[in-house]
């Protein structure tokens, strides 16, 4: 191989736990670092998802328009897309909001539970009715697993998937095989 | 009552009938009754009294004459001649009475030689529209209970089973299981604590089906007689009629029929002065479609939640309270007396090699003559649709006919010349079912049809087993998504794989057949699904290149 495989990781609607688990590979990370080029990751300061990625590990459910945009972009620039962790694979905790309307969600999160004054709040209640400011991406009606939006090549469930499962998956992919993580992890692991 | 006394009663009734110059029959089955035919009958009666000819004219309510779309129907038999009037209203009453001695009323006349009547062959419905279902004497006058006498006095139980077996009769409740074989199994199964049961399945839950209702409303004694013969043949002494509660008229007539039959001794202890006893009770179904499934029906009669259980063991060996139980459909029982009476050879001469006798169908949908028809097995679909049914109204074009209700499928026009029998209908991707026939013209969307039936199955699933409970709900959602134009080929693929799962793994017939409407519309009208898909064009183009091969016979 002339160049090292280009690996990226990305983060949608998740808690970053899967990335933490990835970092928990500890000294194995060093081995990995020698084998791949990490071209984009929340842990690497690159803003735009690059072209020609060989493997992308994506954490989190698809919840907002931004997530939608991101996952489509990632898919179009990636050879092998790995759904990393329960949020990406099943929707998991982010999808627990799917029983409620977005309106009631906002009300709960930004009015009833708000503890800092919000822009435009009426003096009487101390609570804003405008919801989050315009810069926050719009929520989709439902938070959904990645494979319901784009094709996913490998599913790695777990909350978070244990480091050795992640390592196994990456190692297998580097060896040119499509891994089966079912013996190393499961929903809720 | 002894057999001789019954014979005398029949003779007396026949004499009274022939003494009358005119017999006016007013259909008072549910269809015509909903258009006030009861009042028309009363009005006719008073008009005749007023005219002073009450001694020459008999007016009576009769059961269904079949052409419900043209109701209320009135038929008049006068000295060998008969006329039939359609759409009779209160306003027509005096004119009808006048016409008795004059010319028939052109305006109301319904020619009885029209194919709708002429092409039918009636066994099950032969008394419907002819006798007053509320008078056992009427039934006896046309030969009723003679078959029971014959069975009890001239035949052994095994002989009766043999007769039914050789007649080739198959169950009319849907699956077409050989009736004689089932009777034989129950006859041979050892009674438990001396008990065996007979059950008549009158739960008729298919949307649009009303064959059984009509028989029960128009000729209830025929069913009672069939059940009594069955009880004698298999060695049962107790029976249940499981009728859906939505059929109040049928229930009322059955109750009356049972008490009349008990009174004259054709039901109850020591029937017709023999040692044979048979008691019948009515049980009402609360309208769950699944309670028509035999094991669910048993659970329901036993007072439990109406849910199917895995078979084997079959009810024939392990049925009500663990006793051998014979369950047959209303129409199946209605065929018994004529077979016993006229012999198996007569019955076996009607129909095809493997499907004997006749079948009652309820014609509905985009067809001129909606109503009830009885035709010999093996008749061509075209004859039913075009001749008997009178074709598609408003110059429409035939597209498909849906048979077998939610368990069946759509048969497209290339099968117009197919004979209607159990095997052919199955080969065409549907089932004979209990007799619903919904005709569709070119304006019908087949995805719509599939969605409609899936919604039915989804809401009627009892929820016991996973594939049916969740699978039908998922299939319905997919159909809706496709219907709305939001589906893609992945959704269609998932729908098809669910069809396979649900049909192969569900516990009872409801789930096992729930995918049929989808499968059959996919088989013949796949392009209608593809046209709705976001990405269907590619497959559509590929199919277009193949045109002619697709779905051809």
């Amino acid at each position: 191989m002339s160049a090292k495989p280009r690996v990226a990781t990305a983060w949608l609607d998740g808690c970053s736990g899967c990335h933490m688990s990835f970092l928990d590979l500890d000294e194995k990370l060093v081995d990995l670092a020698g084998m791949v080029d990490v071209v984009c990751s929340p842990t690497v300061d690159i803003k735009e998802f690059p072209q020609n990625v060989d493997v992308a590990l994506v954490e989190g459910a698809v919840s907002s328009e931004e997530d939608l945009h991101k996952i489509k972009l990632i898919r179009s620039r990636t050879k092998i897309l790995v759904s990393l962790g329960d949020c990406a694979v099943t929707g998991n905790v982010p999808a627990m909001r799917n029983f409620f309307t977005i309106e009631s969600l906002f009300k709960r999160a930004y009015q009833e539970n708000a503890d800092v004054p919000l822009r435009g709040e009426p003096a009487s209640t101390g609570r804003s009715i405008d919801g989050p400011c315009v810069a926050v991406p719009k929520l989709c009606e439902n938070a959904r697993p990645i494979h319901e939006i784009v094709k996913v090549d490998v599913h790695v469930p777990g909350c978070p998937p244990p480091p050795d499962a992640i390592f196994h998956v990456v190692a297998e992919l580097l060896a040119g095989r499509i891994p089966d993580a079912s013996s190393l992890t499961r929903f809720g692991k | 009552m002894t057999p001789e006394e019954l014979g005398k009663l029949a003779a007396k009734e026949q004499k009274a009938r022939s003494a009358c110059k005119h017999r006016v029959n007013v259909c008072c089955a549910a269809g015509c009754a909903s258009m006030n035919s009861d009042k028309i009958k009363d009005d006719l009666q008073s008009a005749i009294k007023e005219k002073g000819i009450a001694d020459q004219v008999q007016v009576r309510s009769v059961g269904c004459m079949g052409l419900c779309a043209a109701g209320p129907l009135v038929s008049i038999e006068s000295e060998g001649k008969s006329v039939m009037y359609k759409g009779v209203t209160d306003g027509d009453v005096s004119e009808v009475v006048e016409s008795l001695e004059g010319k028939p009323i052109e305006r109301l006349n319904l020619p009885t030689d029209m194919p709708f009547f002429a092409r039918q062959e009636k066994i099950v419905l032969e008394n419907c529209g002819v006798i007053d279902p509320e008078r056992i004497e009427d039934y006896i006058a046309v030969g009723g209970y003679a078959a029971l006498i014959k069975a009890l006095t001239e035949m052994t139980p095994a002989g009766v089973v043999g007769e039914i077996t050789r007649s080739g009769l198959r169950g009319r409740g849907g699956a077409g299981y050989p009736t004689g074989l089932k009777w034989g199994t129950v006859a041979k199964s050892p009674a438990r604590e001396g008990r065996k049961y007979i059950v008549c399945n009158a739960d008729e839950g298919d949307p649009g089906a009303f064959m059984d209702r009509s028989v029960l409303e128009s000729d209830p004694h025929r069913v009672l007689e069939g059940m009594a013969i069955a009880a004698y043949a298999v060695g049962a002494t107790h029976g249940f009629l499981y009728v859906r509660a939505e059929y109040p008229l049928a229930i009322k007539r059955l109750k009356r029929a049972i008490s009349q039959a008990q009174k004259i001794g054709v039901l109850g202890a020591n029937i017709l002065s023999t040692t044979f006893s048979f008691n019948l009770e009515i049980r009402l179904g609360a309208g769950a479609f699944v309670c028509g499934e035999e094991t669910a029906l048993i659970a329901s009669i036993e007072g439990n939640r109406g849910q199917p259980r895995p078979r084997p063991p079959y009810p024939a060996e392990f049925g009500l309270w663990g006793c051998p139980t014979l369950i047959n459909n209303v129409e199946t029982f209605a065929n018994i007396a004529p077979i016993v009476d006229r012999g198996f050879r007569w019955f076996a001469s009607i129909g095809t090699d493997k499907s004997k006798g006749t079948k009652v169908f309820a014609l509905a949908g985009k067809i001129e003559n909606t109503g009830l028809v009885e035709v010999p097995m093996g008749i061509k679909l075209r004859d039913i649709i075009e001749d008997i049914g009178g074709g598609i109204p408003d110059g429409g074009k035939f597209k498909a006919v849906q048979t077998g209700g939610p368990s069946g499928g759509c048969i497209p026009k290339q099968y117009m010349d197919m004979p209607i029998d159990y095997e052919s209908v199955k080969e065409a991707g549907s089932i004979m079912g209990s007799g619903g026939m919904i005709v569709m013209d070119e304006s019908s969307s087949m995805v719509d049809v599939a969605k409609y039936f899936m919604e039915f199955c989804k809401s009627e699933s009892c929820g016991k087993c996973v594939p049916c409970r969740v699978g039908t709900a998922q299939m319905y959602d997919l159909l809706e998504k496709i219907h709305k134009g939001e589906g893609a080929s992945d959704d269609l693929a998932m729908l098809e794989s669910l069809c396979e799962l649900v049909s192969q793994t569900s516990l009872c017939g409801l789930g096992q057949t729930a995918p049929n409407p989808v499968l059959s519309t996919l088989r013949y009208f796949r392009h209608e699904y593809l046209e709705l898909l976001r990405d269907g064009q590619k497959e559509l183009a590929a199919a277009g290149a193949d045109k002619g091969k697709d779905g051809a016979v």
Partner: protein, 248 residues
């Protein structure tokens, strides 16, 4: 049909032992045993979910379906009795595919958010997913909103995690004799209900014995006061009770 009689000459017909083949293994069994029982005796594992030794089998989850040579139909091993000469196939690509699909349907039917479930790691549904190699659910999730009944002093019923196996219904009826539970509704709207739709805590007949909680395969019935992954179920009382009753 052969009918049994007590006469010595028919003793040969009374023999209750049959031989059959399960996955190419010749086995013998007693005539009134089910395929599942005989397979288990011979260390052949057939996956199950609604089945629970000691309760009357239902044949309703359809996970234990097996093939019988010569029949296109599939049979639930838990309710199908063995017979002489039967050839049973307990594992095939077709069976594996169907089992996977059925388990997937259970995952989409309710809201099994394993990561926040008190039974996480000790759940039979999860275990089935692992056994069948399910790493994701291909079916769209239903996201039907479900309630949690916390009205009982000691226990909790979370409909989000119920698979409608009716083990609770059966144990409470057949073993405890209280008959608190039933299934209400039809199709996808089926729910386990206490005492004709009362909050569980209002049930007059519940003895708080906990049997239903401990044989529930998932996190649907649990003890209160347990946090994620803390619920430990002890279903062993059931085989014990069954043996004691049989020997009584």
């Amino acid at each position: 049909m052969t009918t049994m009689t007590a006469s010595p000459s028919s003793a040969a017909h009374d023999i209750q032992v049959v031989t059959l083949k399960i996955d190419d293994q010749e086995v013998s069994a007693s005539r009134n045993q089910t395929i599942l029982q005989v397979a288990a005796e011979n260390q052949i594992e057939i996956p199950t979910l609604c089945f629970m030794p000691g309760l009357k089998p239902m044949g309703s989850c359809r996970i234990c379906l097996v093939e019988l040579a010569g029949s296109p139909r599939l049979f639930a091993a838990c309710v199908t009795r063995v017979s002489e000469g039967m050839t049973v196939i307990t594992d095939s690509p077709r069976l594996r595919k169907y089992r996977k699909q059925i388990v997937e349907l259970l995952f989409v039917e309710r809201n099994h958010v394993c990561s926040v479930c008190v039974s996480n790691g000790r759940c039979e549904l999860q275990a089935l997913a692992v056994k069948l190699g399910i790493t994701h659910i291909t079916q769209p999730y239903r996201y039907d909103k479900m309630v949690v009944d916390s009205s009982h002093d000691l226990f909790r019923l979370d409909h989000n995690r119920c698979v409608l196996c009716t083990r609770c219904v059966r144990v409470c009826d057949q073993i405890e004799g209280a008959h608190v539970w039933d299934v209400a509704g039809r199709g996808i709207d089926c729910r386990i209900t206490a005492d004709l739709n009362l909050p569980w805590g209002d049930s007059d007949v519940c003895t708080s014995c906990g049997k239903c909680v401990h044989i529930c395969p998932t996190g649907a019935l649990t003890e209160k006061g347990t946090a994620v992954a803390e619920m430990r179920k002890q279903p062993d009382f059931l085989p014990y009770l069954t043996i004691m009753r049989e020997n009584h």
